[in-house]
Symmetry: C2
DNA sequence: CGTATGTCAGACACACTGAAATAA
DNA sequence: CTTATTTCAGTGGGTCTGACATAC
């Protein structure tokens, strides 16, 4: 009775109304889709989002403590430990104790890390282009603007 | 003795450019925020999104197999097992063998389940209103339209 | 077809250890 | 000035949800 189901990501025919009309669901479905693609691209480079975020922050700001990195990237410090470990194992960052404050670590990006960052950035930029393909420039701007509005509202914690 | 620890999202001042300009990041941040709120509301009702999705599908479609539910909700069948177990433990659904095909389960919603669904629905609708508060009607429509465009493009698997 | 198991990422709360700043 | 207390950075281990694979 049901039309055949494909393998891979599932396809949906009918969707319950209450689900279709839920804005949050549209948001999370779209996010899930695009994050799946992002992860696929990044994992081809042996990385994941945390790595990109940390390297980007280090590149743009310069050496920083883990607490600072946490603040800028939104990654919890406890999760940051693992990310920095992984990055330093691969020689993408260096961790040394801040001489000025011995309880603090100073993380800095290496040239290998910079190269890796650029590779990830290019990949992600190209991917983003493919994801947004159906939208023209105006629409992209509009979408960004509207999303930021909602985001900022949520970030303020009013709701 | 402990001053209460502020829980919640961290505040960001500066954000690295490469992160700020990543559309995928904006998407996932916004989603994360709103999902956090959704989870908070639902968990106050002792539920989570899977429960809502399953009950909504059952309510709108009538008794169905787990495979069908999986297709409509996007929940993997392996995860659906747990969700249906939880729901049936609370008396919100009933699981019985399909007399027409003995290897298939027919899941149906109970009246208690229906009541629970309505409660969740009301909660979520109210929450959605709060989340979208900064947007007027036009903007909401526009945002939905643009998101659907991207979503459908992704769902087609072209990218 | 359904169920059990398991992996992995991400978000998050907590407890703990040193080191630093500060009050007594 | 030097203890005693508090604050703060980093680490570790753990929980939970969600997406997803696979074997029975």
């Amino acid at each position: 009775m049901e039309p055949s189901v494909e393998t891979g990501s599932h396809q949906v025919g009918w969707i319950p109304d209450r689900l279709r009309n839920q804005f949050g669901r549209l948001l999370s479905l779209t996010t899930a889709h695009s994050q799946r693609l992002v992860n696929r691209e990044l994992s081809a480079l042996g990385s994941r989002k945390y790595h990109f975020a940390v390297l980007a922050a280090l590149d743009e700001h310069g050496p920083a403590s883990q607490t600072a990195l946490s603040g800028w990237t939104g990654i919890y410090t406890s999760d940051l430990v693992a990310a920095v470990n992984e990055l330093s194992e691969r020689g993408f960052v260096q961790r040394r104790t801040d001489p000025a404050d011995k309880r603090r670590n100073l993380i800095s990006i290496t040239s290998a890390g910079l190269k890796h960052l650029e590779a990830m950035d290019e990949t992600l930029t190209a991917l983003q282009e493919r994801i947004l393909a159906p939208l023209d420039e105006d629409e992209r701007e509009r979408l960004n603007e509207l999303l930021w509005k909602v985001h900022d509202h949520l970030a303020k914690g009013d709701v």
